[in-house]
Amino acid sequence: MKILNVYRSQPDEKTKKLVEIVNRDRESDTFELFVDNPDYDILVEKIFAADKTICWW
């Protein structure tokens, strides 16, 4: 199970806690959407490579 965690904003403590539990003992990757000019091409590649994508607030 490979999880991709995408962040629309800098994750707060609550989000970090949920991500930590969801990721436990699993392969995971991240993508930050809140940076200037996110590379959507890389994001789509990561989505296609993951079993599940979660886009956090």
């Binding site: 949920l18 599940k52 607030w57």
Partner: protein, 100 residues
Amino acid sequence: MEYKKALIIIRNKDYALDGMRSALGLAVENMYSYAHLLDTEIDKLDDNNQDRLEMLRDMEGEVYTNVQSNVDQNGLEFMSIEELGEKLREMDVIVPYGII
């Protein structure tokens, strides 16, 4: 046939009722569907929204919350953030809903 499981996480009062409506929408589509009001206190549900909650429960869904007043006032089921995290591990679809 294996039914998918989805959980909608709501952290903003203005998105609470629609998030719950979305959960019901997925239950109608034959999914196990849940919502969680995380740190989000809502007013007493009107009859229409109470009916939606009951419909969701009839289809084995639930609306959880870690806010005690939501439990006391609206009969939602209490679930801590740690328990929510564990529940999320079982889900096929996780929807952090709307904005914070």
